[in-house]
Amino acid sequence: MNDVFVWWVYGGGILLFAGYALRLLSLARKLDRHDR
């Protein structure tokens, strides 16, 4: 039963850091467009 919470922590953590990586990626693309 409690294992569900463990999986939510791991899954949510991966999503959170992936979300931050995507934010950086989108910032980089924005800078690339601005640079051209």
Binding site: F5, V9, Y10, G12, L16, Y20, L27, L31
Partner: protein, 246 residues
């Protein structure tokens, strides 16, 4: 992990750092699952390595923000201010993860996702203060003025780190005392060496992840500043041409 900026992808150390960070974190997570369950917490103890490491990295990020800010004040180098801001932003991500993982640990342990315990409340305050730090930066255009104000806020806000760490001793709320106690010089995990190892490996992986993100975010901030400066120079040159032409 992607290395999106051309400025970053030319630097071989950053992607290598990201890869090593991901591998070591993965080893830490696997070790957490191989460790025997804690006597009191059962399998929920698998949350501890990531929760505690995330909280420590939030501390490290905010102390580094103060350090970079003070270094800016001493040298007036804007690259240090950019690193301070990058570190604060990464710290916000880690503190969100700490609150999130703590809430999911608290629900089955305490019966509630959130309680107004001193540790939880000071963590939420820490998050609010650093979100405010990032918002204030967005409101000041002059780079040196922004850096001075940010360094001052960063230095004051870092006081929240020891307050947050010691809150479990000062107010004796629901949150347990630190898993690694600097005050008592002992660890809650001394009876479970496998989980302790998992914690230390995860902490190493998260530390490398922080360094990776700091390099990446710092490089993007530098590029952003260069483009802003170029735009300003182009505008000034255009204005000068307009003034000189008959």
């Amino acid at each position: 992990m992607p290395h999106p900026s051309p400025a970053v992808s030319r630097d071989p150390l950053t992607p290598a750092l990201g890869l090593v960070a991901a591998l070591i974190t993965l080893v830490g997570l696997v070790l957490s699952f191989l460790a025997p369950p804690d006597v009191q917490q059962g399998y929920l103890s698998r949350i501890l390595p990531v929760h505690v490491s995330g909280s420590w990295l939030a501390y490290l990020s905010f102390v580094a923000t103060m350090g970079f800010g003070l270094a800016y004040l001493a040298t007036r180098r804007l690259s240090l201010d950019r690193l301070a801001a990058s570190s604060a932003e990464i710290g916000v991500v880690f503190v969100v993860f700490s609150l999130y993982s703590g809430a999911l640990w608290g629900r089955p342990t305490w019966g509630a996702y959130w309680v107004w315990d001193a540790r939880l409340t000071t963590t939420a305050l820490l998050l609010a203060v650093y979100l405010g730090y990032l918002m204030v930066r967005g409101m000041i255009e002059d780079p040196h003025r922004r850096a001075r104000v940010s360094a001052a806020i960063g230095a004051v806000a870092a006081a929240g780190v020891p307050i947050n760490y010691l809150s479990v001793y000062w107010w004796r709320g629901l949150h347990q005392t630190p898993t690694f106690s600097v005050v008592e010089n002992q660890s809650y995990l001394r009876g479970n060496p496998q989980l302790l190892l998992a914690m230390l490996v995860t902490l190493a992986g998260f530390t490398l992840l922080y360094l990776y993100l700091l390099r990446l975010r710092g490089a993007l901030a530098r590029r952003q500043a260069e483009l802003e400066e170029r735009d300003v120079n182009l505008e000034l040159a255009g204005a000068a041409r307009g003034t000189l032409s008959p």
